[in-house]
């Protein structure tokens, strides 16, 4: 039995009806948003009496996640480029210390510049070793994680460095603009800039292409070494700004600021739908990943769980969300 009737081209199918469109919609890509709404509604109902929905509490969530959000914006670039940066938390700590000491010595502007310079230095060393020597970023930044926090502890002899400059403290973290905490504005600024650059500029596309298939990117004339260097540099600089936000909020520099933030930031980025293997990622997703973590922390505290219980529940929720979002 042989059929000869020519068939219409299969791949250019006619406009599908709504049901089919729903079926085709890749809901896994939106897991983070769905998860965010579900957790939010859940807490809103369960913790209504504990004031979860009060403006003060909601602003608090934003404020508490702001620094992680900032770090995670930089981390989105690194992971989308198929690299990792484990040194961001330590870099933030080192930058807070350097800023505090430089402000005490030379004043406000040199202090800020010194903080940024810390990020540039750490990022450039990370980026240089990864792109020029081809050492895996996991190892380079693992080493840098120890170096940065160790250096911060060393130069301060473990002592906190107070910051007495009120302008600095107000601008970086303690101040408000109207009802809105300055920290929230900082994170909004980084998210907005990060989102536009990643999705709407040549550089952003080249980062994604390099992470998606480095060989093909090379064959397309993209300088992938430079791209790898740049994402690690960005990550370092962004982490140093986060360090200054810690310094401003806590009015001091200390080597412990930022400890463990690398893991929260990586979790936020992956929850936000960026592929751990590179090639895809959105900064808006990262923002929601970070907010979701903040939401869970906040809700669990309001629910009266102690910190050990919080850790268990938070870990379980993160695994669940990533499991749902994974590709088949």
């Amino acid at each position: 039995m042989s059929k000869t009737a020519p068939q219409p081209v299969l791949e250019t199918s006619a406009s599908p009806n709504f049901g089919e469109m729903l079926k085709r919609l890749d809901w896994r890509r939106y897991v983070i948003y769905i998860g965010f709404v579900v957790v939010f509604v859940f807490f809103a109902i369960l913790l209504h009496d504990q004031g979860f929905l009060s403006a003060v509490n909601l602003l608090n969530i934003f404020r508490q996640t702001a620094t992680i959000t900032v770090i995670a914006v930089g981390m989105t670039y690194v992971i989308a480029c198929a690299e990792i940066d484990l040194s961001v938390g330590s870099t933030a700590g080192l930058s807070s210390v350097v800023t505090a000491m430089a402000i005490a010595q030379w004043g406000l502007v040199p202090g800020i510049l010194a903080g940024l310079a810390t990020g540039v230095a750490v990022g450039a060393v990370n980026g240089g070793l990864v792109s020029l020597l081809g050492i895996p970023s996991f190892l380079v930044t693992l080493g840098m994680m120890g170096i940065a926090v160790g250096a911060a502890q060393w130069v301060t002899a473990s002592a906190p460095q107070p910051i007495l400059d009120d302008t600095f403290n107000t601008v970086f973290g303690s101040g408000n603009i109207g009802p809105v905490p300055g920290l929230v504005l900082w994170s909004a600024l980084f998210v907005a800039a990060g989102a536009v650059v990643l999705s709407r500029t040549k550089f952003g596309r080249q980062v994604l292409a390099t992470g998606g298939n480095r060989t093909a990117a090379d064959f397309t004339g993209i300088n992938t070494k430079r791209i790898k260097f740049q994402v690690l540099l960005i990550s370092g600089v962004v982490a140093s700004v986060a360090g200054m936000l810690y310094a401003g909020r806590l009015q001091s520099g200390r080597f412990q600021w930022g400890t463990g933030d690398e893991l929260s930031a990586i979790a936020a980025v992956i929850l936000g739908g960026t592929s751990l293997f590179g090639g895809s990622g959105t900064v808006i997703g990262t923002l929601f990943g970070s907010l979701l973590i903040g939401l869970i922390n906040n809700g669990l505290i309001l629910a009266g769980l102690d910190s050990s219980q919080q850790q268990v529940v938070r870990g379980a929720i993160i695994i669940l969300a990533v499991a749902l979002a994974r590709k088949k």
């Binding site: 042989s2 199918s13 085709r24 040549k202 090379d218 397309t220």
Partner: protein, 501 residues
């Protein structure tokens, strides 16, 4: 209808992805001990049908019978135990293990609970003896060439008592003599009663080894016939869906710029052991074919011209001016473009959409200030898709989901968009159906017609002879002959030239 000599019978198989039908009530039977060719255009559904037989996908409807008995194939494991073996196009071997270890992976012979490597080697030897090929079972796979990988794959399938072997474009990366060896092996397997399903776009191979042929078109079976009962034109028309004539005939083209300054001139180019003192010149409108055996340095020459490998000496001149090409960026700036030989590894970001892939080299073109003009990008990518007739459901879908031929068109379209002065194509028709092949050849001719220069590297002599105005013959990295098309009588004389006789 249930004739017992059918090793495999697939009945009314339908399969769709996300609501898009890919296979439509396909019937397919393979007899015991026959070589059955499965043909069809790119995207016709050949690989999908075979993946259903192997348990990679499950059919939406339909039945599968093995040796006349209905079986449910729900996983690759099920398919293996039903006697279906596969020679994967993307090899399924572990490179760091030895040949013997790979063959018996997960079914290692044991001695007192521990893996008995010596026994594995002995059995592997026996398998290769039966296949009448020589492979060292103790060699580490990563150090062997593709031909040996393939033999290892076949041995692995046979060790699991495969009665049916599926080969999806097995000769794509084999040299001529390796292809011959494979064909002889297929004959021997056939004599042992093993059935072989052979997917290929190369008609000469199909004629050479297949007993029967099934043609799929747009997800339906068009025909199943003995090869002796169908005319070649009928097969070509069946695959392509229309008549194509004279696609592989050379047409002398008007000499465009005559003498003048060459568009591209290469002097004494050297890079590593595979590009040695290569010189040639290319005039505007000229198509240069590059022929040579595997390992003769054809791909390396392309890579050096495009700045991926660094030249250790020699000059490259564009329109008479010396250019420094140390990276693909510089090559692109100089007006070169390279369509690489491995589209999946080198040409495409598979997870990204067709549109993003097309626009990757064109980001500078669609920038407005610091930002990309997405509207302009959509327009540009749509016009490229249209120009090359790429079959895509939507430009936003990942390029990974396209069939092989359409992926190749995306790579070509991507580089056509950059409007290069010199286009280098490395095996541009690998894995491409005959209809698309003639389209690609026409495109190459059109491009040259607008005064650009084209370099075509190909292992398929008929195609090389069809487009080239001149043929450069490489051997061990050096140019051994630079032949005007008119001086090459036929395929055979080109073959002799390539062998350096």
């Amino acid at each position: 209808m249930n004739t017992p000599d059918n090793a495999v019978e697939m009945r009314s198989i339908s399969k769709g992805f996300n609501g898009i039908p890919v296979l439509n009530e396909v019937d397919f039977e393979v007899r015991r001990g026959e070589v059955h060719a499965l043909a069809g255009g790119n995207g016709a559904g050949k690989s999908t049908l075979m993946k259903i037989l192997q348990g990679v996908y499950q059919a939406d409807t339909g039945k599968i019978l093995i040796d006349g008995k209905p079986v449910a194939i729900g996983s690759i494991q099920d398919a293996k135990s039903a006697g279906i073996g596969m020679v994967f196009q993307e090899f399924s071997l572990v490179p760091s293990l030895t040949v013997a270890q790979n063959i018996f992976l997960a079914s290692e012979p044991l001695a007192r609970g521990l893996i008995n490597d010596r026994e594995a080697v002995r059995r592997a030897k026996k398998l290769f003896d039966e296949m009448e090929v020589r492979v060292d079972p103790k060699a580490e796979v990563s150090r062997l060439g593709t031909a040996y990988w393939q033999l290892t794959e076949i041995a692995k399938a046979l060790s699991q008592n495969a009665r049916v072997l599926i080969m999806d474009e097995p000769t794509a990366s084999l040299a001529k003599h390796e292809t011959e060896a494979l064909f002889e092996l297929i004959e021997r397997l056939k004599a042992r009663g093993i059935s072989i399903i052979y997917i290929s776009h190369r008609m000469d191979e199909v004629y050479r080894i297949a007993d029967r042929i099934t043609i799929l078109r747009d997800g339906r079976r068009l025909l199943t016939e003995r090869l002796s009962d169908v005319a070649p034109e009928q097969i070509v028309e069946g695959i392509v869906g229309r008549k194509i004539e004279g696609q592989l005939a050379y047409r002398a083209r008007a000499d465009l710029a005559g003498g003048g300054v060459p568009l591209l001139e290469v002097r004494g180019l050297t890079s590593g052991p595979r590009v040695r003192d290569v010189s040639f010149a290319l005039r505007p409108g000229e198509i240069l074919g590059v022929a040579g055996l595997m390992g003769s340095g054809r791909t390396e020459l392309a890579r050096t011209l495009f700045g991926i490998d660094k030249a250790t000496s020699g000059d490259i001149l564009i329109k008479g001016k010396k250019v420094a090409i140390g990276s693909p960026q510089q090559a692109i700036e100089a007006g070169l473009a390279l369509i690489p030989e491995d589209r999946r590894a080198q040409g495409l970001v598979l997870e990204h959409s067709v549109r993003d892939n097309l626009l990757l080299p064109l980001l500078g073109k669609i920038s407005r200030g610091p930002l990309l003009d997405l509207g302009e990008g959509r327009k540009l990518s749509s016009s490229l898709i249209e120009k090359l007739a790429v079959k895509v459901a939507h430009p936003n879908r990942p390029v990974r989901l396209l069939s092989g031929g359409n992926q190749q068109k995306v790579v070509i379209a991507k580089w056509m968009g950059t409007d290069p002065e010199v286009l280098i194509l490395d095996e541009p028709t690998a894995g491409v159906d005959i209809g698309t092949k003639s389209e690609i050849l026409d495109m190459i001719r059109d491009l040259a017609g607008t005064g650009k220069a084209v370099i075509v590297i190909s292992s398929e002599y008929p195609e090389l002879l069809a487009v080239s105005d001149r043929v450069l013959v490489l051997k061990e990295g050096s140019v051994i002959q630079d032949l005007p098309r008119g001086d090459i009588a036929d395929e055979e004389s080109l073959q002799l030239a390539v062998q350096g006789v």
